[in-house]
């Protein structure tokens, strides 16, 4: 089986920060999977963590993650990716997944994304962390 590469939405990383007993933490700790985020996702995670009162000073949550920059201006981002989301503010997540050429985009908020369009046009499967863990089990990973 080839490399499994996934893109993580911010809520998956924050979930892993909130609990080590959940699916998100299990995925972040799986070193056999390549995980990618954008610098925007990282900025969101830091701010959400700050507002939730999570101390990140002792945690290097991004240590094993590849961090990329989209290098897209806002107008171009919306023009290209608005068709895949319900709110334009979420378009950078799909753009990040597309640019990093992943097989999967993991999020806890499937309803924010047009999952069928993303699968058909970009070839990316959007799923929850638990479903992805089940997929890994089915593949014997």
């Amino acid at each position: 089986m080839g490399e499994i590469k996934i893109f993580l939405d911010s809520d998956v990383i924050v979930s892993a920060l909130l609990s080590e007993a959940g699916a998100s933490f299990a995925i972040l700790g799986n070193l056999r999977i390549s995980k990618v985020v954008t610098n925007t996702i990282r900025a969101e995670v830091f701010e959400v963590a700050r507002r939730l009162g999570i101390d990140l000073s002792q945690k290097d949550i991004f240590h094993d993650l590849e961090i990329i920059a989209l290098k897209l201006d806002k107008a171009r981002l919306v023009e290209t990716y608005i068709q895949y989301v319900l709110d334009k503010e979420d378009s950078h997540v799909v753009a990040g997944a597309h640019k990093s050429k992943v097989n999967f985009l993991l999020t806890h908020n499937l309803k924010h994304y047009r999952v069928d369009e993303i699968k058909t046009r970009l070839g990316i499967i959007v799923m929850r962390p638990g479903s992805f863990l089940q997929y890994l089990r089915s593949q014997g990973v």
Partner: protein, 77 residues
Amino acid sequence: MLQLSKNTVYELITRGEIVAKKFGKVYRIPVSSLSFLFTGMDDDVYKLQMVDEKNTRKIEGILASVRKDVWEKSKSF
């Protein structure tokens, strides 16, 4: 409900893929063994997902607000 033949179910029980307990001549299968049918996940994976979902409700509103702020402040991504 399982859409499997009786023989296949007995075989899965024998192989341990479905956890069941025999009472006399009858097998009883706990709901947790059938988790996949209802949730698309094995019971242990479903429990991991549920831990996250409890937290997701806490995260959702804050993330929406943060994402909006980041969007408004950013000219490029």
